[in-house]
């Protein structure tokens, strides 16, 4: 009984080598790369496309694909003889931003890409590619050379409304240039990259255990999930195993993170619609979850808990009992609040048909996370590619197909319930085994790690040398996929007053994208 990946690879005439049970690697020539990936993407999902450049070596392009009904991943890579390659974007629109990043960071030109332009480095000179080891001189950057609004908007009486990067409250820095005809949104020119910290470059040459702390600071509110994905990538690369107790702890903390994120998201949604009591109630819930996390791990955002091969902390029975009591309280309050919200017409009416992402569009761009699930895409790496202790718990993956803000709210609320359910199950059956104390044994290699962050699947690919130092780290948090469609969602017949609702319902992190 062949696996779906094997069958697909056979169809595509690709020779596949398996790394463990979950990762299949294939290499192909540059001339056929585009056609193969495009053909594969018809029945599989292209989840990532990135480049690796090292001085003295040919650049490598790697595509990561998820195949239907297979819990494994297919990685197809190719070596580029020159500094250009055939763009996948004309056939696969979702590859657009990946290829733009490849050009910007590595200087590899995707030939035939219809929409090139700076992705994160809006103020930089055009021929400057950071991952090639080039450095700009210190000093303030020249004021944006790319000032043209993209796309250009014309029309009688159309004007621009700039928002950001310094926005209103304590929010992340990103620039949105709205084109409006009055109070409607005609188009949004989205500019991210103000928070570009070159995290992938900083990691190169560092020991993997130190890079864990960088991975924790990739994004604050999905810190644990991204670090988990990175740690698993390292562990899979060196073949380290993790004890069941630690797997349970990892799962529990990941779900705890999901809990406080979703509480926060619904709270922001309520704030966008002016429902201040709901804001306060969800704010209290989020704070209580953060405090629980602080008690359990010593850090409210669950940092410093993971290490390669296990966990730094132990969850004692006392901790677990206390958490169980709190969980019951949270479940009850969340259920009541959710019911109340659904009955509040001033809230639901603002969300209904706002920022609709139709299922076809969502499928074309393969959205991930609750945003994708609210547009009918039934994907969740916890269920489709089980990791940690997820295979030992039962949970549903809620999906709605309307695609509007109300659907996203419903998905988040349903996922809240599922997270609570998962944590309850975990607390019910806690394995009681000793932790192995072996330090990790380093070896050269590369591997993929994944985890379902609150915003969707986070993929991390790591290449290590024989001393455990990171040669290349590719972080693909879910924001990289979902920001694509934000401009489209804004422009689909919404008003400027809908904008806070749109942003709150998407709940995508800027820091994850900018890295």
């Amino acid at each position: 009984m062949r696996r779906p990946i094997d069958r697909l690879a056979l169809e595509m005439d690709l020779g596949v080598t398996w790394q463990g049970e979950e990762e299949a690697c294939a290499v192909c020539g540059e001339e056929v790369f585009r056609d193969r990936i495009t053909a594969l993407a018809a029945s599989a999902t292209l989840s990532d496309l990135f480049a690796t450049t090292r001085s003295g070596e040919e650049p490598t392009l790697t595509a990561v694909l998820q195949v239907e009904d297979d819990p494994g991943w297919l990685l197809v890579s190719t070596k580029l003889p020159g500094s250009a390659f055939s763009a996948l974007t004309p056939q696969l629109h979702l590859a657009s931003w990946y290829e733009r990043e490849i050009l910007e960071m590595h200087g590899l030109m995707p030939v035939g890409h219809p929409g090139l332009g700076p992705l994160r480095l809006h103020q930089w000179p055009e021929n400057h590619h950071p991952m090639r080891g080039q450095h700009l001189e210190t000093g303030p950057l020249p004021h944006s050379a790319h000032t043209a609004v993209r796309p250009s908007v014309s029309g009688q009486g159309v004007f621009q409304l700039p928002l950001g990067p310094v926005r209103s409250g304590p929010q992340e820095s990103a620039e949105f240039l709205f084109s409006s005809g009055g109070e409607d949104i005609v188009e949004v020119d989205l500019r991210l990259g103000f928070k570009y910290r070159a995290i992938e470059q900083l990691a190169e040459g560092q020991p993997a255990e130190s890079v864990i702390h960088l991975a924790e600071r990739l994004a604050g509110t999905s810190s644990f999930a991204n670090t988990l994905a990175f740690t698993r990538a390292v562990e899979r690369s060196i073949g380290a195993t993790v004890s069941p107790t630690d797997q349970h702890a990892r799962t529990l903390l990941a779900e705890l993170e999901r809990l406080y994120n979703h509480f926060g998201m619904i709270g922001r949604l309520a704030e966008a619609t002016g429902l201040l009591v709901a804001v306060a109630q969800y704010g209290m819930l989020k704070e209580e979850v953060l405090r629980a996390g602080g008690r359990l791990t010593g850090h409210r955002y669950l940092r410093g808990a993971l290490r390669v091969g296990g966990m730094e902390i132990v969850l004692s029975p006392v901790d677990r009992e206390r958490l169980r009591a709190e969980l019951a309280d949270w479940s009850q309050r969340a259920a009541r609040l959710n019911r109340l919200l659904e009955q509040t017409s001033t809230f639901i009416d603002r969300l209904d048909t706002t920022a609709t992402l139709l299922p076809d569009y969502a499928v074309e761009h393969r959205l991930v996370g609750p945003v994708g699930r609210a547009s009918g895409i039934d994907r969740d790496v916890r269920r489709d590619h089980p990791y940690a202790a997820y295979s030992s718990v039962e949970f549903d993956v809620p999906t709605v197909s309307d695609g509007d803000a109300e659907a996203r709210f419903q998905v988040h609320a349903a996922e809240l319930r599922q997270s609570l359910r998962i944590i309850r199950q975990l607390l019910g059956g806690w394995p009681d085994q000793e932790r192995p104390e072996d330090p990790p044994r380093w070896s050269a290699g590369s591997a993929l790690g994944w985890a379902e962050a609150p915003g969707g699947e986070a993929l991390h690919w790591v290449e290590l040398d024989q001393n455990g130092r990171v040669l290349r780290w590719r972080a693909r948090p879910p924001a990289l996929v979902n920001w694509h469609t934000f401009a489209h969602a804004c422009g689909s017949g919404n008003n400027l007053t809908d904008y806070p609702v749109i942003e709150a319902s998407f709940a995508i992190s800027v820091a994850e994208f900018d890295r």
Partner: protein, 696 residues
């Protein structure tokens, strides 16, 4: 004296017209022509003073026809209109001296000068017309001369059609007017307006028919829905000084015609006359203001605003008729005062605004408000004068528009005295709609002024705007200055309007009812008397500065005191800030989120400002909005986006076009009568001959 001075004014205009023709040979004659026209205007003003004073001079020329002779008379009713013609005419003539070179070449300038003076002349004569025949003849001269003026810039697209529409509707109105005069028995030899006003001939059904004919006949020039279609087309199409004359004087002549024919020539009105006029007037006002909120062209906006103001005037005329039909003569007269006063104020302010639009056209070469902006820095005088006009018509206290709008609404509130509840409800509903209209008008003027003059320039031409020549500014200053003076000193404006109304309706004591001297009501004015002290005692015996809607049980205002207190408050605040405030100053860039640099496109445009009204009232004009994208390969890679808005003008789409289509079909059918066969024509001749024999 009244008619002699008028004759002198006519002579000066004739001279100015002839000198204008001479511009074809010698350019210097243009200034002389303007000077002559200014003198004519001043003479008209002086003669208006006499007319308002109660002159009843009469003049008959020895030319008679079967439908009447050429007779002229001076009346107080026409006095206010003569005043406004004179002032606005002076302003426009001054303005033309500087503006004409920007309109076109030698030939165009010559036409402009001569025809403008001809039309101003004809307006004076219309006001002096003593009988229907004279009235109609001079009215036609006015209509044709203004028509030719509108087509002056005929090579620009859409101009000839606009002028043709104006002419066509004007003809329809003329026919209606003429038939109306026939119905009241005016087109007969020896019957003058004076005799008709003393002994109205028409009665009952004939009077009602005449009312409708007059309403729609004069309603063409007075911009009554559904006959207002030419106004928003022709006024913007004409050069700015002509637009000023059209919107300022010519529409006021339409109002004069309405008042003259309906109030003086017809007997006591029936009840429904007033309701019809009121209803149509309110609809006109709402229609005008809605469009003025949305159109991006500066002149078109002003034209629609004219429609709105005319609607208000006609509505107040209707209110006057309602009061008159239930024998509340004082209230009817007060409502009529509002009509005439608003005509005066509107003429002064709207001509200022149109002249201002002309300045913008000359200085910035653009009239699209969405591409203007920032003119306040580069064209200071134009901005200030335009601002006065805009504030005045927006209804900002203490200026003109506020006074008449307030007084008009007060009159509608007085509908309490009417007998039937339906009447009261109708008047109240009209009042509500008018209030909404005024609020929207204020928004429209904020939009115009803010969009065109304030902010940063949105196009290169706006950024390089230059101030206009001195004469153009002086022309605007004349009309704006007179407007402000009449606003702040009510006895001038209201006094004139009251004199006109008294001449038309013969209701005594109107001035003291509206503008009472303090001595008449010492109890009511106790506080001002205490505060004012000896200064006030000097004017105690004169008509005061407080406007009262004929009864102290309602509100009363004083524009003068509002103005004085505003000045005091501003002066005190400025002084206090000067003394107590700190004088540190630091300049900093515009805050736009610290991302992109500030661009002029990052401010609200005029169209964007009122987009909300487009969606709210979208049903009225089938507003549609479409977003079109140009892209490479897929909409995801859109590189340009176009935002398209479409709008339909209901009267034009649902009334004019079908009417034109039907008429065309009818005329094609009728054309079959002209088959070209001689035998058929002979048959026609015989048939008509037989008919005539039979009838006679």
């Amino acid at each position: 004296m009244g008619l002699e001075l008028l004759a002198a004014a006519v002579a000066c205009y004739t001279l100015a017209g002839l000198l204008g023709l001479g511009v074809l040979r010698w350019r210097a004659l243009a200034d002389l022509s303007a000077a002559a026209a200014i003198v004519a205007g001043l003479l008209a003003v002086v003669s208006a003073a006499f007319w308002l004073g109660g002159s009843h001079a009469r003049l008959s020329l020895p030319i008679t026809t079967p439908i009447g002779g050429l007779a002229f008379r001076a009346t107080p009713l026409a006095g206010t209109f003569l005043l406004l013609s004179g002032v606005v005419g002076t302003g426009i003539s001054l303005y033309t001296a500087g503006y004409a070179p920007h309109v076109g070449g030698r030939q165009v300038q010559a036409s402009l000068h001569s025809l403008l003076n001809l039309s101003l002349l004809s307006i004076l004569v219309v006001l002096a017309a003593g009988n229907a025949f004279t009235f109609l003849i001079t009215w036609e001269v006015m209509a044709i001369s203004t028509y030719v003026l509108v087509t002056l810039e005929f090579d620009r697209p859409g101009r000839p059609q606009a002028a043709f529409l104006m002419l066509a509707l004007s003809k329809i109105g003329f026919v209606a007017m003429a038939v109306g005069f026939i119905a009241v028995g005016g087109l007969r030899p020896g019957v003058s307006f004076t005799t008709l006003s003393h002994h109205p001939v028409a009665a009952g059904g004939l009077a009602s028919a005449a009312f409708v004919l007059f309403l729609f006949g004069f309603g063409v020039k007075a911009g009554l829905v559904p006959l207002q279609g030419w106004l928003p087309e022709a006024h913007p199409a004409a050069p700015a000084n002509v637009s000023a004359a059209l919107s300022g004087i010519v529409v006021s002549i339409g109002i004069y015609g309405l008042v003259l024919s309906i109030i003086t020539l017809l007997p006591t009105p029936a009840g429904w006359w007033g309701y019809l006029a009121l209803g149509l007037g309110v609809v006109t006002a709402a229609y005008g203001v809605l469009f003025s909120l949305l159109v991006p062209n500066l002149k078109r906006m002003l034209a629609y605003s004219t429609v709105e103001n005319l609607g208000f005037m006609i509505a107040m005329l209707g209110a006057a008729l309602v009061f008159a039909s239930s024998h509340h003569r004082l209230l009817a007269a007060a409502a009529l005062v509002v009509v005439i006063l608003h005509a005066l104020y509107h003429a002064l302010l709207k001509s200022t605004l149109f002249m201002g639009a002309g300045c913008v056209d000359v200085g910035a070469h653009r009239l699209d408000m969405d591409r203007l902006g920032g003119l306040a820095r580069r064209m200071r005088w134009t901005t200030m004068l335009f601002f006065i006009g805009a504030m005045g018509l927006a209804g900002v206290p203490p200026l003109n528009g506020f006074q008449t709008e307030w007084l008009g609404l007060q009159m509608l509130i007085r509908a309490r005295v009417l007998d039937t509840p339906e009447a009261r409800v109708y008047m109240a509903a009209a009042g509500m709609l008018l209030t909404l209209t005024f609020a929207l008008a204020a928004t429209a003027y904020v939009r115009v002024f803010g969009g065109a003059f304030l902010g940063a320039p949105r196009s290169k031409r706006a950024a390089n705007a230059v101030e206009v020549p001195l004469t153009m500014r002086l022309g605007m200053l004349v009309t704006a200055g007179v407007a402000v003076i009449t606003a702040l000193i009510p006895p001038i404006g209201i006094g004139g309007a009251v004199a006109s109304t008294e001449g038309a309706t013969h209701v005594p004591g109107l001035l003291n009812a509206l503008l009472p001297p303090f001595s008449l009501h010492p109890a009511q004015f106790a506080l001002p008397i205490q505060v004012g002290g000896t200064f006030l005692s000097q004017i105690l015996h004169n008509n005061g500065m407080v406007i009262v809607p004929t009864s102290f049980n309602y509100a009363f205002i004083s524009p003068t005191y509002i103005f004085l207190s505003l000045v005091c408050v501003i002066a005190l605040t400025a002084g206090a800030l000067r003394l107590l405030g700190r004088r540190e100053r630091r300049e900093s860039a515009v805050w736009v989120g610290a991302g992109s640099e500030y661009r002029a496109s990052m401010q609200y445009t005029a169209t964007g400002f009122t987009n909300l009204f487009r969606s709210t009232f979208g049903g009225v004009f089938r507003a549609q909005r479409a977003i079109e994208r140009d892209y490479h390969q897929a909409p995801f890679f859109a590189h340009s986006v176009r935002y398209v808005r479409r709008m339909v003008e209901p009267v034009e789409a649902y009334l004019y076009r079908p009417t034109v289509a039907v008429t065309r079909r009818l005329s094609v059918a009728a054309g079959r009568l002209q088959s070209g066969h001689v035998s058929l024509y002979l048959l026609y001749l015989v048939a008509v001959f037989v008919l005539v024999l039979l009838v006679h």
